[in-house]
């Protein structure tokens, strides 16, 4: 129990409040079940009370933001409620049975499924990709995508390594899923934010060897340049010393003409 504050049951959340959510929801969908969504918010707020985000904001700011994103994605009432409650099973004492009793099987099931998909482990990411391609409740994926989007919007509060991991994964897992779900605007924002984070972290001054590799790649056909550049920079990353990296870059530069000849030839050949 941390200071509950005396601001009543509607804490200020990064400027956004339950009132904002309800207003946007009514504007988007006049027939929305305001009572149900409000109840989900209040339940989440009470479960997470005392918990803070890395940013120092009350934790409820996160599910609230996720729900606002979901409104924009055209989610139904059940999905919105599950979005508001998506972290209560993981991070609070709330149980699935309690959710079932309060909100019914549908919402409780969505929350359970969303909690079960941990995108930071292999299985979770693979399962999400499989769900997007096959059967399974797409509403769970909407929640996961909205969750990732808000996490990326506030990623600055995480350690650098987590920022990079999360951004890389976003480009490889969540962006394609967002596109597969037809959420193009969300996919674009995810991709833009992830790319910006990655750029920011690669801006640690590129090493001389890295610059040399990038310069070498300019000699390759435009269509495949990025691939080889990325491949080499990844290999460079594995080399332990500056000298080893320099040797690698020089060797690649020496072979660049042969590689270019091969690649230009395969561009011309119908089989390539």
């Amino acid at each position: 129990m941390v200071s509950g504050g005396s601001a009543g049951h509607e804490p200020v959340t990064d400027g956004q409040t339950l009132a904002d959510l309800l207003r946007e929801l009514q504007a988007a969908r006049p027939d929305a079940d305001i009572a149900l969504v409000s109840k989900a918010y209040l339940t989440a707020e009470s479960c997470h009370r005392g918990q803070l985000r890395k940013s120092g904001d009350p934790y409820i700011t996160h599910p609230l933001a996720v729900a606002l994103i979901l409104v924009g994605m055209g989610a139904d009432d059940q999905t919105l409620c599950a979005g508001l409650l998506h972290d209560v099973l993981h991070d609070t004492a709330c149980t699935e049975a309690e959710l079932q009793a309060e909100f019914g099987l549908d919402i409780a099931g969505l929350v359970r499924q969303a909690s079960g998909l941990n995108p930071t482990d292999d299985q979770g990411a693979a399962a999400m990709t499989a769900m997007a391609a096959g059967d399974g409740d797409k509403r769970v994926l909407l929640i996961k995508i909205a969750d990732r989007l808000h996490n990326l919007r506030t990623v600055g509060h995480l350690p650098a390594a987590r920022q990079v991991d999360s951004s890389l994964q976003t480009l490889q897992v969540q962006v394609p899923i967002a596109r597969a779900l037809g959420a193009d605007a969300i996919g674009r924002e995810l991709a833009d934010r992830a790319s910006t984070v990655l750029k920011r972290h690669h801006q640690a001054p590129p090493s001389a060897s890295g610059r040399m590799l990038c310069a070498s790649a300019v000699l390759l056909p435009r269509a495949v340049r990025a691939r080889w550049r990325e491949e080499w920079l990844a290999e460079l990353d594995l080399l332990p010393t500056r000298k080893a990296r320099a040797v690698f870059a020089v060797q690649v530069a020496r072979g660049i003409a042969r590689l270019a000849v091969t690649l230009y030839a395969s561009e011309r050949s119908p089989g390539g």
């Binding site: 292999d122 890389l168 490889q172 290999e235 020496r254 072979g255 590689l259 119908p270």
Partner: protein, 122 residues
Amino acid sequence: MGKEQRATPRAAPRMTLQTQLVLRAMLAEPAAESYGLQLCAETGLPAGTIYPILARLEQAGWVRSNWEDPCAHVAEGRPRRRYYLLTNDGAEQARSAIERADRARVKLRSAGLRAGAPGVSW
């Protein structure tokens, strides 16, 4: 409208000694993916030799390449790798190409010994 060069879009790669080294390294564990730097270490060949060979093998259809599964590199917090794997057809062709090269070498060697025998007295 000459004849389209459709007949041999996938000509077999030239069996240089370096190419043989790369193929031998990959054939040691044909189902395992390798990346460029690993093949440099396994063959002792410089990077500038490895990548053009891999590109030629890929062009010939003996090898295919793909980006590493995100889960692996994300967990290790490093950039994704490009992995190379012998295709089924490629593994077969590589095996027989290496056998041919070995036979040719043995033949040469024995021919050389016979021819060279008198030379020993020099």
